[in-house]
């Protein structure tokens, strides 16, 4: 019994130390963004004496809102296409696996897991520049194309457990393939679609490499990760403004996480586990 209490105490201590380590950067970010430089020079850790919003004002006087809008638009439009295209092609593949064409399409797309982003990073720049797609549309097309390998792998696996008798029954009821897909199969795929949506929207929202390659032309094109990266040159030595910028860039995700953390956690892990 005594040993058990000791073990418990050690467990809680370890966990609390971990919580401290996780929270310190977050606390500092929030704390310092509400302080003036003079105040934070006295202590980094003491809570601010009042809420000073001047740092935030310096952040949003740049292109913050435009770049936030770009991030939202790019993520939403990519997700819209991903949510339609991946289930469609996965449905066709899973119902015709014996057919050579579909088998080929499946393995051809699956082979993408062998190719790291670095391989296409440089050619994509030349390719998109030739197509005059060094803009948001080009970025969206890239995200859609890059989402297929994992998404189709997950969805085809999921559809193995959706009985083909359902398709047959709906054909007898007079539904065509398209209607069967829209009315019967798509609703049944919702769990895996939720996983795909969480995985991909987090990746697209946080991605830095592709926007860096494709959108670095004009600040009006930037997404939030590019905004915060280039913001470095604006704030110079004023780290309070820097932290205000970090906080504002993280805010949308913090809000989303507080509302639907369960989905985010399961989405991120299920994607890896299957």
């Amino acid at each position: 019994m005594k040993e058990n209490t000791l073990v418990r105490a050690i467990q809680y201590t370890a966990l609390l130390v971990g919580v401290f380590i996780v929270m310190i950067p977050v606390y500092l970010t929030i704390n310092l963004s509400f302080k003036t430089q003079v105040e934070s020079a006295q202590s980094f850790f003491a809570p601010p004496s009042g809420l000073y919003f001047g740092n935030f004002a310096s952040v949003i006087k740049g292109k913050f809102w435009i770049n936030l809008g770009n991030s939202l638009m790019i993520t939403l439009v990519s997700m819209l296409f991903i949510m339609v295209l991946i289930p469609m092609v996965s449905f066709a593949i899973s119902r015709n696996m014996k057919h050579g064409y579909f088998k080929f399409v499946f393995y051809f797309i699956l082979a993408g897991i062998f190719v790291p982003f670095q391989v296409i990073m440089l050619p994509v720049l030349k390719h998109m520049s030739n197509l005059h797609l060094l803009n948001q549309l080009g970025l969206i097309l890239m995200y859609i194309a890059l989402s297929f390998t994992q998404g189709i792998f997950l969805s085809v696996g999921f559809l193995k457990n959706v009985p083909i008798e359902l398709d047959e029954a709906s054909t007898i009821d007079g539904c065509g393939i398209w209607q069967t897909f829209v009315r019967i199969i798509y609703p049944l795929m919702l769990p895996i679609i939720v996983t795909i949506v969480t995985l991909n929207s987090l990746w697209i929202w946080n991605d830095f490499q592709l926007p860096l390659i494709l959108l670095n032309r004009s600040p009006n094109y930037w997404t939030l990760p590019l905004f915060i990266y280039n913001f470095k040159s604006d704030y110079g030595a004023n780290y309070n403004v820097a932290f205000a910028g970090f906080l504002l860039t993280m805010l949308p995700i913090i809000l989303l996480y507080s509302v639907m953390q369960r989905h985010l956690i399961s989405g991120l892990t299920e994607g890896a586990l299957k």
Partner: protein, 308 residues
């Protein structure tokens, strides 16, 4: 009669095959948009990568020459590339060890019967949803401004210098930021593994007098092997392609001491006009990652056999 019947069945068969191919056509149409996008924006650039790696293109000139495998021969004589390879391997090794140990430890703590388990879980997972570029910039500020000030106030010399500003320690600064961000996902994957261990096995072993560590080694660990494999592959892949945090924290410096392969490809290709050369370097990472993915696929198919 006979004749009529045969023509009727023939007609029916013909009708069925037309219907069948029409159905097939609809299915094929379902795959067309995705296939075109995949070919146009993924497969074609990949092929072009192989193509450019055989040229001496600087990335801007109108013409370039095919120089065979010269780029591949050259990168293995390039000390900068070899150094970045060494840096990337060292980084990956340390990150793998740290992330796996911390993730496993936390997963075990968080699956015991605790108060506030849900809250702990939410807090520990939080870093995973943030972007690495922002995390890198935050840690950069902490190392640059906050820790030195604390070090000076407390008179601790080791703290008062920016660890990112020193060739020998910058690696560890980058590792700290990445581990802070990257423990959460392997942790939750391990938690899924721990949840799959049957409780009665543990109870039976306890009755038989097995100690805590004996139970861990002979009961828990075998159930965790699949999760360990997944985590290893994920972390190794992430380690070999590390990019964002380096751009945010050191920009490859001081000097060229923290250039990872991913970062060097970017620099060579886009900033130093060695486009063909950089694609050859990228094909080299491709070979490494392909090998790892291949091992992963082998293991995945084995797992499926084991389950049946």
């Amino acid at each position: 009669m006979e004749v009529i019947r045969t023509t009727q069945t023939q007609l029916a068969r013909k009708k069925r095959s037309i219907l069948g191919s029409k159905k097939m056509l609809v299915y094929v149409m379902f795959t067309i948009p995705a296939l075109l996008l995949y070919i146009g924006f993924f497969f074609y650039p990949t092929l072009m990568g192989f193509n450019y790696s055989l040229t001496n293109w600087d990335g801007m000139a109108r013409t370039y020459k095919y120089i065979g495998l010269d780029n591949y021969l050259a990168i293995f004589k390039d000390t900068r590339f070899l150094h970045s390879l060494g840096f990337t391997f060292k980084y990956t090794l340390i990150v793998v060890i740290l992330k796996i140990t911390l993730a496993l430890g936390l997963a075990m703590l968080l699956t015991t019967n605790l108060r506030f388990r849900g809250l702990f879980r939410s807090i520990y997972f939080f870093p995973a949803v943030l972007s690495l570029i922002t995390i890198g910039l935050i840690f950069n500020e902490i190392f640059l401004t906050i820790l030195p000030a604390i070090g000076e106030a407390l008179g601790i010399e080791a703290l008062s210098r920016n660890i990112l500003g020193n060739k020998d320690t910058a690696l560890y600064g980058i590792i700290i930021a990445n581990v802070w961000h990257g423990v959460a996902v392997p942790m939750v994957i391990f938690m899924a593994g721990l949840a799959s261990v049957p409780k009665d096995l543990h109870e039976a072993a306890t009755i038989d007098g097995a100690s805590r560590s004996q139970r861990f080694v002979s009961i828990t660990l075998p159930f965790l092997i699949p999760m360990l494999n997944v985590n290893l592959v994920l972390i190794i892949k992430g380690g070999l392609t590390v990019f964002d945090s380096i751009v945010a924290m050191t920009d490859g410096g001081p000097g060229t001491s923290t250039e990872s392969i991913g970062f060097l490809i970017y620099r060579h290709g886009l900033l130093e006009n060695k486009f063909g050369y950089a694609t050859a370097e990228s094909i080299f990472i491709f070979a490494l990652i392909a090998l790892i993915s291949f091992v992963q696929m082998k293991w995945l198919s084995k797992k499926e056999v084991g389950q049946q």
